[in-house]
Every structure is written in C-alpha cells, then in structure tokens.
C-alpha cells in the first residue's frame, strides 16, 4: 500500500467533510472496493496491510448484518444443532432432537389426547346405547308355578250355581278363601324350605 497522507490515520491531515476527494483517495477507494468484491467472491488476496484487513473485516461484518448474506439451510441447521448440543451438555448431546423431528414431537400430545377422548366417548356411548340385560319374563316364571299357587278364576270350585243357591255367596266366599289359603300356604312353606 502507498504511504501517502490518506493512509496515515494517526498523524496525517484530516480533510474537510465537504472537500472534493483527491485522485489518490479515489484510487484508494477503487482498490479497496475491488478488494471487498474479491473477498465476497471467495478470492481473498493472500497478503494485505493490517489497515486494509481491519477495514475488510468491518465491511464483511456490516454486509452480513444488513441481512444480505445468508448461510445455506443445512449449514444453519447444523449450527443450531451444535449450539443446542453445547447448551444441554456433552453427555446428553446425542439426545438433542433435530428441528424436523421436534415438529412431530410437538403434535404427539395432541394426537394422544384426541385418541383418548375418542376412546372415552366411545365407551360412554356404548354404556348408554347398549341393550340392558332383560329380566326373565314374568310369564315364563308363572308357567313353572303350580296352578294351585296362582290367582285364577274361581269357576272350577263350584260349577254352575243353581237357582236356589243364587244368594249363597257367603258359603262360596268361604270356599274360595279356603282354597286360596291352601295355595298361599303351600307356596310360602315351599319357599321357606328352599
């Protein structure tokens, strides 16, 4: 690099802010612009002055901070995973979940909760709509009951009622009562024996 006043930051004269750039300054700026372009294109010169290197690094940082430079996605993911791995410690580093798998894990509780709800709802519906066990039909039980133990018409106790006995209801009620009492006692005693 030339040793003119433009490069002497410590002792050289400071130009006025509104002063026209000199030819040397223009040439210096052009040279530095080329240097920046080469660096961004990956063709950094192997040797340069310390001042130019400092300026070049500053220019690179400013450009990156402006958002115009982005890393490839794989590189970004690798950097984030490395950072996470370092954050959780070396021993558990292998347990760090990649970003893509983490998305699946985020949905897992929802899926489990939904499935559980559906199963519980199905159980409730099954409880409500299922056919209840029906008790044995009364007729079936009655069929097994002896006739003498059942309430029934009293015709068979008397047959046709003759004209002269038409008002003899008192005798007939005695007969009916006695007959039904026999059946009732038999039934009750039979149940107690069992």
């Amino acid at each position: 690099m030339s040793q003119n006043d433009d490069n002497d930051f410590l002792t050289g004269p400071v130009p006025e802010p509104d002063a026209e750039p000199t030819a040397a300054e223009r040439a210096h700026a052009k040279t530095f612009a080329d240097l920046v372009d080469k660096t961004l294109a990956g063709r950094t010169p192997p040797a340069m002055s310390a001042d130019d290197r400092a300026l070049l690094e500053m220019a690179t940082v400013i450009r990156a901070a402006s958002g115009k430079v982005s890393l490839p996605e794989a590189t970004q993911r690798s950097l984030v995973e490395d950072a996470l791995r370092q954050a959780v410690g070396g021993a558990g580093a292998k347990d760090v979940v990649p970003i893509t798998r983490g998305r699946t894990r985020r949905w897992a509780p929802w899926a489990i909760a939904t499935t559980s709800t559906l199963v519980a709802a199905a159980a409730v519906i099954a409880l409500v709509v299922r056919t209840p066990a029906r008790p044995a039909a009364p007729g079936a039980a009655a069929a097994a009951l002896p006739t003498e133990w059942t309430s029934r018409p009293a015709d068979s106790l008397f047959g046709p009622i003759s004209h002269d006995r038409a008002g003899d209801a008192s005798t007939r009620i005695d007969t009916i009562f006695a007959d039904r009492l026999d059946g009732y006692r038999e039934r009750e005693l039979g149940r107690r024996v069992k």
Partner: protein
C-alpha cells in the same frame, strides 16, 4: 388448548367411571304377577268377614245393615288383575240384589245386577248367577204389573231371556271345564 383437551379427557373418563353399571348378579326367586300373595288373601278375608257380618245381621232381621255390609265388598281393593276380584264382587252383587229384591227395591236391585254384568271382563258362573238373579227381578216386576198384561208379558219374556243367558254361559263354561280335565 392442549390443557382444555386434557381436561375434557378427564371429565369424559370420570363420567364413564360414574355411569350406572349393571348391578352385581344376585339370585332372585321368581315372583310371578299372578301368584297368590298376601294382598289377595287379605282382600278375600275381608270379603269373607263382610259376608259373615251380613249373615249375622240377616239372622237378626236387620236387612238394611246386611245390605250395607255386602256393599262394602264392592269397594274392596284387590290386587290388580286378580280374577277372584270380579268373581267375589259379582257374587256379592247377586246377594245384594236378592236382599234389595226382598226389600221391594226392584229398580235398585236391577241396577246392581246390570252394572255387574256390564262390568264383567269374562264369562263366569258368577256372571251366569247374575243373569239368574236378573230373571228373578223380572219375574218380580211381572208380578207387580200383573194387571197390565202387556207389561207383565214383557217382564216375563225378559225373565226367560235372562235365564236362557245364564244357562248358555253355564253350558259353555261347563264344556270348557270338561275339556280341560
């Protein structure tokens, strides 16, 4: 949202647990609806006592009290659907009608009989007996209107019809009884 869903799961599960489940299996003895039970025996016992009470009143010449006692039988509570209830009430009506007939209350007697016939759910010897008593009432009416030949004849015809109806029921039921033996 996730917590709301979890809460819903808990509520639904709790509801499932609290739903009325089937009662534990227990052994029950059969209690058929038509079995003779205590209520039937109580009703029959009361009817029996009212009849005996009426008999005592009649033996004492107190027919009005006897009639009141027999009327009590008509309002006795029997177990629902018990066939004995209709038989016992119809028999009480027959006795009541005869007592009223003896008191000369022919219209009241006829009313008691016709109500019994109309209210019966099946043919029975007790219904046939009501037709018999109805025939007796028509005979009594015929005797009362003997001066009016046409009315007397009509009552006699009605009496014959009532006796025929009684016989028809008796014949039908007796046939059924013979076939069932």
């Amino acid at each position: 949202m996730k917590y709301v869903l979890c809460l819903l799961v808990l509520i639904v599960t709790a509801c499932s647990c609290n739903s009325p489940s089937e009662p534990p299996p227990t052994t029950h003895t059969a209690e058929p609806a038509d079995a003779i039970d205590q209520n039937l025996m109580i009703a029959l016992s009361k009817a029996k006592n009212f009849h005996h009470k009426a008999k005592v009143y009649m033996s004492d010449g107190n027919v009005a009290a006897a009639i009141a006692s027999v009327r009590e039988i008509l309002s006795l509570q029997f177990p629902a659907g018990a066939p004995e209830a209709e038989d016992v009430r119809n028999d009480a009506r027959a006795l009541l009608a005869k007592l009223l007939l003896g008191q000369g209350q022919l219209d009241e007697a006829m009313s008691v009989v016709t109500e019994g016939i109309a209210g019966s759910q099946r043919k029975s010897f007790f219904v046939a007996n009501l037709y018999t008593v109805k025939g007796e009432i028509h005979e009594a009416r015929a005797a009362l209107v003997a001066d009016d030949k046409a009315k007397a004849t009509a009552e006699k015809h009605a009496a014959i019809e009532a006796y025929d109806a009684s016989n028809a029921i008796d014949t039908e039921l007796q046939k059924q009884l013979m076939e069932s033996k």
